[in-house]
């Protein structure tokens, strides 16, 4: 599993250094079209769609874009990996960064390349980049060092990739999911590089989500509203509340399953909650569209009926009779 995912990750990494192809012009990305990581992800999506294969024997690829942060008074590229789920088994991870030609080690390299005696030289020791990954503790202080990686960029002014699978696996195992790194710790900070937003490093994590075959898994990740909010009050008001809302997986409350009642029917007028109201608020983004035929009809009656209520109303007597039947 790991080797297959790593192979694919490496291939994808190689792809990422190529000039942007059709993906960057894709209307699917919209404003994200200028985002290197989004373009890379769209290329992966198109590849797996075209070939009908799965990403490295897994079913998930997550991207994490760096944010420039000042950590211990030094600029660092930080990654928030907290959106990775417990059920996602990491297969491989790659770190992608842009080797800027303005860096000191590249100056050394270019001076040397102008000299004919240097034509067949190996990259000097100065051309290497040290990547020191560490977790972040409280108050943005340095946490534990997760790994130190040395890379020898093979091309200047190009995207590079490095396998950091062991490092990400270790971070997830230890629950330290905010990682920071410096691209070149030997250089004195002289301000952030130019065009930094496009050249921000990113991490791709290839994983196999073991929960994806569970019932309703699509709603867990793609449904962004909870049909049955908890009775404990608004979570957003709690001090440790997170915007990461993993919704409940059951469609109906367990009571309706256990007592064999129809979940949509209110059996008791004194019921402590009104399911109809629940659904109305929970699915506010679901605005039923009139069918094409209905849209063509312009009678005032139809329009009036639709705006008044989207459901049929029966009196209690009729409902009782129906239930008895």
């Amino acid at each position: 599993c790991h080797s297959s995912a790593a192979r694919e990750a490496a291939a994808a990494a190689a792809d990422s250094s190529e000039p942007l192809g059709g993906a960057s012009r894709s209307p699917a990305l919209g404003a994200l079209g200028q985002d290197k990581v989004a373009v890379h992800m769209l290329k992966l999506y198109e590849k797996y769609n075209r070939e009908g294969s799965r990403p490295g024997d897994g079913n998930t690829v997550r991207s994490f874009k760096a944010r420039l942060e000042m950590v211990a008074q030094k600029p660092q590229y930080c990654f928030n990996l907290t959106s990775m789920q417990e059920s996602e088994l990491i297969l491989a991870a790659t770190f992608h960064f842009y080797a800027d030609k303005r860096h000191r080690h590249w100056e050394t390299l270019s001076k040397c390349s102008k000299n004919s005696s240097c034509r067949l030289f190996h990259p000097p020791q100065d051309s290497r980049l040290s990547l020191l990954f560490h977790s972040i503790g409280q108050n943005f202080a340095y946490g534990a060092v997760k790994g130190n990686i040395t890379v020898f960029p093979h091309r200047r002014g190009a995207w590079q990739a490095k396998d950091i699978s062991h490092l990400i696996k270790k971070s997830k195992r230890e629950g330290e999911l905010i990682l920071c790194t410096e691209l070149d710790s030997r250089e004195k900070y002289q301000g952030f590089p130019e065009h930094v937003s496009y050249h921000l490093p990113y991490i791709l994590v290839y994983a196999n989500d073991l929960a994806i075959s569970e019932p309703n898994s699509v709603a867990v990740t793609l449904q962004r509203y909870d049909p049955f909010p908890s009775a404990d009050g608004d979570r957003r008001l709690l001090p440790n509340a997170s915007m990461d809302t993993r919704v409940r997986r059951d469609i109906y409350p367990s009571s309706s399953i256990q007592n064999n009642e129809l979940p949509e029917v209110e059996y008791n007028g004194d019921s402590k909650y009104n399911k109809h109201n629940f659904w109305e608020s929970a699915y506010k983004s679901l605005k039923p569209k009139a069918s094409r035929k209905d849209q063509r009809r312009k009678g005032p009656e139809n329009g009036e009926m639709l705006t008044k209520s989207q459901v049929l109303n029966f009196d209690e007597k009729t409902m009782k009779k129906a239930r008895r039947k």
Partner: protein
């Protein structure tokens, strides 16, 4: 699709993520062919509806009427296909997931 056969079969259904309010975070695809299964599983069930052995027995029991309340077998998805979805997670990171059982290839009486 009223003119299609009453017997259990796959029917066309295209799902546009905008229609179910998920388009804000799903980058691609914008829509996909999901299909659905509909139709009857009446006795006798032909091979085309791919009845399971259990469905065949249930269909006979229903037709004979010895046990009250037993319904006809249901027309449900049989073979299904996965779908790759590119979307933004809650932290606005781009994620690619391959969801199993997202579109129907065949239907059956079960």
């Amino acid at each position: 699709q009223w003119n299609e056969p009453r017997i259990c079969s796959r029917r066309y259904m295209k799902v546009d993520f905008a229609d179910i309010g998920w388009n804000e975070w799903i980058i691609s695809p914008k829509s996909f062919d999901a299909y659905y299964c509909a139709g009857t599983c009446e006795f006798p069930m032909p091979k085309i509806v791919r009845p399971s052995n259990h469905a065949t027995i249930q269909s006979i029991v229903k037709a004979v009427g010895i046990i009250p309340g037993v319904p006809e077998p249901c027309c449900v998805p049989d073979k299904m296909n996965s779908l790759s979805v590119l979307f933004l997670d809650e932290n606005k990171n781009v994620v690619l997931k391959v969801y199993p059982n997202m579109s129907i290839e065949t239907c059956a009486c079960r």
